[in-house]
Amino acid sequence: MAIDWFLLQPLALRAGFGGLLLLLVLGSLAAIILPRVQPGKWQDLAPRMTSWWLICGIVGAALLAGWQAFTLLFAYISFVALREFLTLAPTRREDRLVVLLVYLSVLISYWAIWINNYDYFLVIVPIYVFVGTAITMAFMGRTDGFLATVGIMHWGVIVCVYNLGHIAFLMRTPLAEVPQAGPAGLVFFLIFVTQFNDVAQYVWGKLLGRHKISPTVSPNKTWEGAIGGFLTTAAVFVALAPFFTPLSFYPSLFIGLTLPVLGFFGDITMSAIKRDLGVKDTSQLLPGHGGALDRLDSLMFTAPWYFHMLAIFALERF
């Protein structure tokens, strides 16, 4: 029964899940073998792989289950990311209720996705949550630290709710526009490429990394890792795009080259914020990765870019 249902999914998506499973198995094998070959260099790989299995299982199941499950899952993921952000960022004692209001923006934004209203989604966070938090905070009456705090609230909502919400909205693309692998295929491809880029940069960096890009922000990032990662990801993107997206060759080349750069900057932006806040990881939610924000950092920048590039080059809906 479950097998039949899985076989009804588009071929590319089934192949994608098969490939992902293969990568997970290879990664887990590497996590067993590499620490024995080079002791001390790979010890974070085993817990990292365990978390990868968990992430792929949950997100994969929601993708296959359809847009309803996926929207609910991403609403929760946005909430967890926002909670991590607001826990670490400085807030004032008076701001507890403003924080509650900011959490409410998760419900409102994902409600717009649920009713498939793109116009509402576009304005809720940048305009109405912006105005609403400012009004509430002014009403609370404490002025010292006002601008800094209202800015922090807004930064958190934009990256955790608005940017990530684009992923859930992509699931509402009409099937007729994406006959290749359906909306789930579009989303699968975005998440896969973004995370693949992180892994490719990590692996190239571990293998060849010499010259640090930004020692003050992210000492583990090297030019070798970044460029190796970009090129590998671009090649994978261009090769697989025809199976998952309606993109033609040149647009896919353009997105393939730019998407990993945005992913890289999402990653180091979050690193800069973590340094500013004085933490290494945003929480202990995912052993080997850190918190939800640590895992989502690159996706927060790639998701809107991928969404808009698809909208410009291929999709009529958005």
Partner: protein, 212 residues
Amino acid sequence: MLQLFRRLLLVGLVKPIAKLIIGVDVRGRRNLPIAGPAIIAANHNSHIDTLLLICLFPSASLRHVRPVAAADHFLQSPLSSWFSQKIVGILPIDRTGGAKRDVLAGCREALERDEILLLFPEGTRGEAEEMGNFKSGIARLAEQFPDTPIVPVYLQGAGRVLPRGARIPVPFTCSAIIGKPFRWSGDRRSFMQSLKSTIEALSSAAPPLRWL
């Protein structure tokens, strides 16, 4: 029957709410005893603290876990009294009684039944996210049960979720840092000093708290 209901409620409702909505980061889980007798000593900022501590335990050991809580606060109304004692499983302690009454008798009986006491040595929630002075009742208990492990726990964040006086809880990720168990040192003063300094030292493993 009630015990089963209590466990279902804690495992099926209370723990998922605490973990999914509030969010708890645990460090040093291996230091936590899953069988009694033991005394868990934590700093206290909020009613949420008890919830966080209960969440640390696997469901099988929950029936041995007894939070020690103020009788004057939790036994005020019949409903609160029933809920606190039967569901949360608190051991009421009389904060008003003078020297003539033995306020620790309940705790001693619980330890003799091999239960796990959750104790807040500050004795009150105090200001949100600030640690107050420790009361010495825990030293008297430790002296009478010198073989019982005392497990220091530093809790962070509950004072933001639900500070004293607030009615609506607001989710913030909380941290629980569990230190290595230790035993009665032979002297009350040094015992209290080392307990407090241990919990303060554990706080350095928690993320920096920016609560302006």
